[in-house]
């Protein structure tokens, strides 16, 4: 069944020439290595992956089965890149890469997949479906078929250095205002949110949603650094935004250009380590994909701020009183941070120390369900209904914990969880790890005048 693409894309699909299609398929092929080619030929269509997908769980229809989504892509590969597919297309389910197929790809890889990878670990064969879907998205990107609102986010990053087109003046002003707030909160007139501090140990990066909508989140991170007496800085110029929607549009050239902002900021400010704030895709983009987009290793390490918070607690640099967080908290695992990022335990250790009661969702960790907001879904309005419906799985998980506080170390996930909170009437409070930790901090002795000496 062919599902129409969003209206803006539909007209572009209708206008595709054979040359466009050939270019798109060449782009797809260019993203394949032996690994992806193995994945494309290995599916046995057993269907056991179906219930691993939050889209299928929310709406158990054929087009939501991961194997079906894969088959749309694999069918074209079989048709154009395998002998059996060329000679016996009807037998082996090979189909041409034509406009109908392009529609199917758009629907499958943009409209019904958050690239969360839960199907991969549940696949009986071991197919990393998101790797294939990323190649398919890249093909669509090469034909100008990235949904406009997702592409606009990328374009903002390319043009303004951040995905919300926040001006430098607004950013700096927000940071300065938050510094005053931090001083008021801590009672320490020397508390700082450093900007452009050359040679700082850590360059800290944030999601633009923080200065725009959730300034208290940034203030909480700053309070953690203040309590740890950390040597850190933000960048006033591009390089402060950790997001990279090129990860989702799968235009690697543009994704690389956005990553370059971070690398340039590190070089400009001569910092030791790039610290990615609480953001799943931002961590995945900067830590794992960035070096591949730039085709070279960074001359600096990349760490998640969650690892720093965990270290501060483990080494006693921060003291906490969990009774300051008396309500039970549960934790959402962002897919790009945990299943694809390997950062699973630091946030748990922090919450166990900083909150009175920590409740795990079932399942969690590598088996956690996507909230529904990943893969760029939050930026694609055409698929909003599906996103909210697929998030019902996460809403059910949250409700079953009984915890009144949901912690999500990812601002994209937080946006989705806030919508789910409203839609499914969960009545929970949604917070970052830093917000919970900041509330639990018991300020230690400081040097004369309240200065924060470098440890």
């Amino acid at each position: 069944m062919t599902v129409p693409a969003p209206a803006a894309l539909e007209s572009r699909i209708a206008a595709l020439t054979d040359a466009d299609l050939a270019r798109g398929f060449d782009a797809f092929r260019s993203k394949l290595s032996a690994a992806e080619v193995s994945y494309l030929g290995a599916c046995v269509r057993c269907g056991l992956c179906a219930e691993s997908c939050h889209y299928f769980k929310a709406s158990p229809e054929l087009e939501n089965v991961p194997a079906r989504k894969l088959d749309h892509v694999a069918a074209a590969f079989r048709r154009h890149a395998t002998t059996a597919g060329r000679l016996l297309p009807g037998l082996v389910g090979a189909r041409s890469f034509d406009r109908e197929m392009v529609r199917a790809w758009v629907d499958a890889v943009f409209g019904r997949c958050s690239l969360c990878g839960r199907c991969s670990i549940n696949c009986t064969v071991g197919i990393a479906l998101p790797r294939v879907f990323r190649a398919a998205r890249a093909a669509l990107a090469s034909m100008g078929l990235v949904p406009d609102d997702l592409q606009a986010t990328v374009d903002n990053s390319l043009a303004h250095g951040n995905n919300m087109a926040i001006t430098k003046a607004d950013w700096v002003e927000t940071v300065q205002w938050l510094e005053e707030e931090l001083q008021a909160e801590t009672g320490d007139p020397e508390a700082r949110i450093p900007l452009d501090k050359k040679g700082a140990k850590y360059l800290f990066t944030v999601n633009p949603r923080e200065p725009k909508f959730f300034p208290l989140s940034l203030q909480a991170s700053a309070k953690v650094f203040w309590a740890a007496k950390e040597d850190w800085t933000l960048s006033s110029d591009p390089g402060w935004d950790l997001t990279n929607y090129g990860l989702f549009s799968c235009n690697d050239e543009q994704a690389g250009a956005i990553t370059r902002n971070l690398v340039d900021a590190m070089e400009r400010l001569e910092c030791e380590t790039l610290v990615i704030g609480e953001c799943g895709h931002g961590y995945g983009a900067a830590r794992w994909e960035g070096p591949e987009w730039l085709r070279g290793s960074y001359p600096f390490p990349v760490r998640s701020v969650l690892e720093l918070m965990d270290e501060y607690l483990a080494t006693g640099r921060i003291a906490v009183d969990p009774s300051r967080n008396p309500k039970a908290v549960t934790l959402h695992d962002p897919c790009n941070l945990v299943r694809h990022g390997g950062v699973r335990e630091p946030q748990r250790r922090v919450l166990r120390r900083a909150a009175s009661t920590f409740v795990e969702m079932a399942p969690h960790g590598e088996e956690s369900f996507c909230c529904g907001g990943g893969g760029g879904q939050l930026a694609m309005a055409a698929y909003k209904d599906r996103r909210i419906a697929s998030g019902g799985v996460k809403a059910k998980q949250i409700r079953e914990t009984g915890a009144p506080v949901v912690v999500a170390p990812c601002h994209n996930c937080i946006d989705q969880l806030m919508e789910l909170n409203k839609e499914y009437k969960l009545g929970v409070q949604i917070r970052t790890v830093a917000e919970v930790l900041a509330d639990a901090i018991v300020p230690g002795p400081r040097e004369e005048g309240g200065a924060c000496p470098r440890p």
Partner: protein
């Protein structure tokens, strides 16, 4: 030993075709190359691959298997039965007596495999989602392997069925490189690459006690 008849010759030719075509498939797949990675690893890719082929395949590591234990068991029995049928084929070609104990055991396993194959075929036909997922390849592949396992079992006590079994084997081997049975080869690089990918990122293997 008597000279090989037409069924044996057909089987030999089909086996040669299957081996050659699978070797070519392996070479062509390999020719796509391996991506050079620049991000420093957070974990051990080799350990991830080992996990993917061991604990990572067990029900405790896979919700999809835990919640479909019957299908999982049927799949395991089906594959075991098909391998047993190939074992019986090798024994038959080597002149092992049909009535020997190993052959009888092999026959029993092949019967179980055939029944499991039929069960999985029935599931594919009965489930609208699985039907929608399927192409003719799925039915052809199942029927060929199930027939082969069935005839392998029958031939252990009915020598007259041997020729039909050899022909079924030849048909199966001819089809192996064409359709989904290619997963007998591609399963290994696919699972290996998934294991390496998640191992490198520190996701596989889950740390002790972290398994769900």
């Amino acid at each position: 030993m008597s000279a090989p008849g037409l069924p044996e010759l057909a089987l030999g030719a089909a086996a040669a075709w299957a081996l050659l075509a699978l070797a070519l498939l392996a070479l062509r797949t390999r020719a796509w190359g391996r991506r050079t990675l620049h991000a420093p690893p957070a974990g051990d890719a080799a350990a991830g691959a080992r996990y993917a082929f061991t604990k990572g395949m067990l029900p405790q590591a896979k919700e999809s298997v835990r919640t479909h234990l019957l299908s999982y068991a049927a799949g395991v029995v089906f594959h075991t039965g098909v391998f047993a049928a190939f074992g019986l084929l090798a024994a038959s070609l080597a002149g092992v007596a049909p009535g020997s104990a190993p052959v009888r055991i092999g026959g029993a396993v092949a019967v179980a495999g055939a029944l499991a194959g039929l069960g999985l075929l029935g599931k594919r036909v009965a489930s609208p989602v699985l039907r929608g997922l399927s192409s003719p390849d799925d039915y052809v592949a199942n029927l060929l392997t199930t027939s082969f396992a069935t005839l392998a079992a029958v031939a252990t006590f009915l020598p007259a069925a041997r020729e039909a079994w050899l022909v079924a084997g030849a048909a199966l081997l001819l089809y192996v490189p064409v359709g989904k049975i290619r997963h007998c080869l591609l399963f290994f690089p696919a699972r290996y690459e998934l294991g390496r990918f998640l191992g490198r990122r520190g996701t596989f293997p889950p740390a002790a006690g972290r398994e769900a």
